[in-house]
């Protein structure tokens, strides 16, 4: 069976997610779909699986136009997907989750004996050993991922879409998955493999399609013709490769934050480092290494279970984000822009002023919209937030502008230390470059910055020093000499020394 997407487009309020994107998937192949975060991969998958309807373009199955009203239609025609979001029913058993829409029944009632036997068959196919009667809420994240794959298999899918399937798997589990993919391919399935891990893609795919800013820059190129360089170029574009924006600099400012032997309930052990004013300290690590969890503990969102913090040379305990901001002048720019960064419902001025309402308040807490506008306008202008007015709801802005609003909020707060978590995920290239430049400038103005990122080029371009986090520990740290190749070797070396996992990183 062949699946073709012909010039599909899709817009969401404030964002153009896909523009004339095309894809051609044949049976018996593993087809990679690549692109940076926010390039439109998930949107394309959701169009293929009937979750979203495209605004324009066509979807063809064996040359026939098809239109999916719901995921059910796609499943009926043999298209199944393993999405990034956890799509299991927590209180249902493994077997029932796998067979949910197709439960075997006898005299009208669910036949659990047969369901368990059938589910077991699919679990054996993927080599997962769990009792099919276990409720999935008791499984590990990796096991849940495998159950989702088993679920897709149960649909007898002829087209299988795997959206970042290895994100939460260990090396061994990932290898088992790749072996399974090869077996399915041999049986004639068409497999769309979505990933931004180059090594994986190079290893298992036959052809590749690349998305950049919602457009397809490569369509079905045979992998044999590809090199790392060409893939990266297609994904991020040569001209837009991150320029080194910050010359190497030795940190001389006063120490703002010193962590010694910090431990958390999330699993951190023995985390020690210092951040100085005017310095960008990079915290690099793979997804799931524990970087965001550390940041949350540092700003008082989660509790420390051990170790001490010292701020401006004095011992400190941070009990809440409010305290971090008001007493210790520490801010955290969340990676989760939509849920933790901005309030979509409210205007720009409201969002930017959120951290400074206390300061804006006059007698008895009174303040006005005009006061907010006056106080926030310089920051909106400084960050070049594109909007007709500060009264615009943040929900109507593009992702890049939303991120600028989120940043403006912390600039307005005039914190001494800003923890910046994945600042450029899902943001267009131009805004990305702008944000990089801004982060550099802020450090030059004396702000202490802890930069969390899983994009090594970003790290190499910005950080003065790089700490490498792996499995909730800091495994290495070194000065950044601005050479991507050298840093890449050091970072990978640090991670590989700690585990034998096959870690593939751009």
């Amino acid at each position: 069976m062949a699946l073709t997407v012909d010039k599909a487009s899709k817009s969401f309020p404030g964002v153009r997610a896909l523009k004339d994107a095309s894809l051609e998937l044949r049976s018996g192949e593993v087809h990679a779909l690549m692109g940076e975060n926010g390039a439109g991969k998930s949107t394309l998958i959701k169009i293929i699986t009937g979750v979203h309807r495209p605004d324009g373009g066509r979807l063809l199955l064996d040359g026939q136009d098809v239109l999916f009203a719901s995921p059910r239609d796609a499943i009926r025609l043999g298209i199944s997907a393993v999405h990034q979001e956890r799509n299991l029913i927590p209180r249902f058993s493994v077997a029932e989750n796998i067979l949910l829409e197709n439960l075997p029944r006898r005299t009208g009632l669910v036949d659990y004996a047969r369901a368990n036997a059938e589910a077991k068959k699919y679990l054996e196919m993927i080599g997962l050993v769990v009792d099919t009667r276990t409720e999935v809420r008791h499984l590990s994240v990796a096991q849940m991922q495998m159950v989702e794959i088993a679920k897709a298999l149960s649909h007898e899918a002829k087209v299988l879409l795997l959206d970042e399937p290895t994100a939460s798997l260990t090396g061994e589990e990932a290898d088992a998955l790749f072996a399974l993919v090869q077996r399915l391919k041999a049986q004639g399935a068409a497999i769309l493999f979505v990933s931004h891990k180059l090594e994986e893609v190079l290893a298992i795919s036959d052809r590749v399609t690349v998305l950049r800013d919602g457009e397809t820059t490569l369509i079905g190129e045979p992998m044999a013709n590809m090199t790392r360089g060409r893939l990266i170029e297609a994904m991020i574009g040569r001209a837009e490769r991150i320029a080194v924006v910050r010359p190497p600099k030795a940190a001389t400012g006063a120490v703002k934050l010193e962590a010694s032997g910090v431990a958390t309930a999330a699993g951190h052990r023995d985390i020690s480092f210092t951040v100085r004013r005017g310095e960008i300290l990079g915290l690099y690590g793979l997804v799931g290494a524990g970087r965001t969890e550390l940041a949350r503990a540092l700003v008082g969102k989660d509790k420390l279970s051990g170790g001490t913090l010292s701020i401006d040379g004095k011992p400190a305990v941070i009990r809440s984000v409010e305290e971090a901001l008001k007493r210790h002048r520490i801010g955290y720019l969340s990676e989760d822009r939509k849920y933790e960064g901005v309030v979509l419902l409210h205007p720009i001025r409201f969002n930017v002023a959120m951290t400074i309402w206390d300061r804006l308040a006059r007698f008895l807490g009174f303040q006005t919209a005009a006061g907010e506008r006056r106080a926030t306008e310089p920051f909106a202008r400084q960050l070049e937030i594109r909007t007709p007015s500060l009264e615009q709801s943040v929900g109507n802005l593009s992702g890049g502008n939303q991120q600028k609003v989120s940043l403006a909020k912390w600039l307005a707060a005039k914190v001494d230390l800003l923890i910046i978590d994945e600042p450029t995920v899902g943001i267009d290239i131009k805004t990305k470059a702008y944000i990089h430049e801004l982060i550099g400038k802020l450090a030059d103005d004396g702000l202490a910055i802890l930069l969390i990122s899983s994009e090594l080029p970003e790290m190499v371009a910005l950080a003065d020093r790089i700490l490498v986090m792996h499995e909730f520990r800091i495994v290495d740290g070194f000065d950044n000499d601005r050479s991507y190749e050298a840093m890449s070797r050091k970072v990978m070396g640090a991670i590989h020394r700690r585990s034998d996992e096959a870690v593939a990183v751009e």
Binding site: K301, V321, V342, V343, L344, L345, P347, F350, L360, E391
Partner: protein, 353 residues
């Protein structure tokens, strides 16, 4: 005002984008706010009722309408402030009956001066509301469940203590205030009842709270996105406890107004009867159940609409009995019309963009 924060683009920028807007009445109505739409519906209803039943515009009917709507408005406010944070308070009525009986106890049994009794009653309401907020924040249990349980606790406790015996010997001045009016009567228009003035004053206070204060902004931020609010250093838990205390105080204020109107403290006057009106007024008026958007003006208009329908149907002698059917149907119709209007505006904007 569209919401406490007028989030719409400035008119000037809108007309700059659209040099020749069609200024037909329908397009104006469709583009206006929920509150403007409500106002038009109200005017139409008043014209219809006035024509069908001359008694509707009588001094007596208008006076009783305004006195009862005043209480409904404040009951609506008591729910609105909690809705603003995305929560609910099912114990508005229970706090109301507790406050009714407590005010009677303070004035009749203890013989306290009226201002002291009023202050004490408001404090009790705030305390009961605070207990709600405290339980919600400390246990992490949904506000629906907590206030459902506390409603039962509060009204049960009140009935145990009072044995459901009404207090009829309130100070005469208190009942007199409930009947008094401000300003002169003009023609067939009655003077404005003092209770309506109180409701408007409370409305003004809430308007200032949401539009011009730090606390109001914190409430709206928590309601729109509690996680983002917390990560921006806003004390989410304290804000939630505050709105519940405020809700309790507002329920107590409504209870005092009701007691003054009836000139007696009766245990059966609020309770379950307040549940529907407390949601009707704010929700018809454009306050979102999901939190983050409130409208003080909308709540006032929503309460007026409900009272107008009730009063009109009574004057038309359609009968008390069918009234709840009309109220329920009207609530759904009002929300549906508003949704249609909002969808139309969104489509128009998308087409022009």
């Amino acid at each position: 005002m569209t919401s406490a924060l007028d989030a719409e683009p400035r008119p000037s920028s809108a007309s700059a984008m659209d040099p020749a807007p069609r200024r037909t009445l329908t397009s104006l109505l469709l583009r206006g706010s929920t509150q403007a739409g409500l106002f038009v519906i109200l005017v139409v209803l008043w014209v219809v009722f006035a024509n069908l039943a001359p008694g509707f515009l009588s001094k007596f009917n208008l006076n009783s309408l305004l006195r009862s709507v005043a209480v409904d408005i404040v009951v609506g406010f008591a729910q609105m402030v909690v809705l603003a944070t995305g929560g609910m308070n099912l114990s508005v009525g229970a706090i109301g009956v507790c406050a009714v009986m407590f005010s009677g106890y303070l004035m009749q049994v203890l013989g306290l001066p009226i201002p002291v009794a009023i202050a004490g009653t408001l404090a009790l309401g705030a305390l009961l509301g605070w207990l709600n907020g405290f339980a919600i924040v400390k246990t992490g249990v949904n506000s629906f469940v907590v206030t459902l349980a506390s409603a039962s606790l509060f009204s049960g406790g009140m009935l145990i203590l009072t044995k459901a015996v009404p207090l009829n010997g309130l100070p005469a001045e208190f009942g007199a205030f409930g009947k008094s009016a401000v300003g002169p009567a003009i023609g067939s228009m009655p003077a404005i009842p003092s209770l309506a003035v109180v409701a408007l004053a409370i409305g003004l206070g809430l308007y200032v709270l949401f539009k011009h204060s730090t606390l109001g902004r914190q409430i709206l931020a928590v309601g729109a996105n509690a996680r983002a609010a917390e990560m921006s250093g806003i004390p989410v838990d304290r804000t939630i406890v505050f709105v519940h205390a405020l809700s309790g105080a507002l329920a107590a204020a409504a209870a005092l107004m009701l007691t003054a109107r009836l000139a007696a403290a009766m245990p059966a006057v609020a309770g379950d009867d307040w549940l529907l009106p407390s949601f009707l007024a704010p929700v018809i008026g454009g306050t979102a159940l999901s939190g983050g958007i409130v409208s003080v003006v909308g709540t006032i208009l929503g309460a007026l609409l409900v009272s107008t329908i009730r009063s009109g149907l009574l004057v038309l002698e359609i009968g008390n009995f069918w009234l709840p059917l009309f109220l329920g149907a009207f609530l759904l119709a009002a929300i549906l019309v508003e949704r249609g209007r909002a969808a139309y505006v969104a489509r128009e904007q998308a087409r022009r963009a």
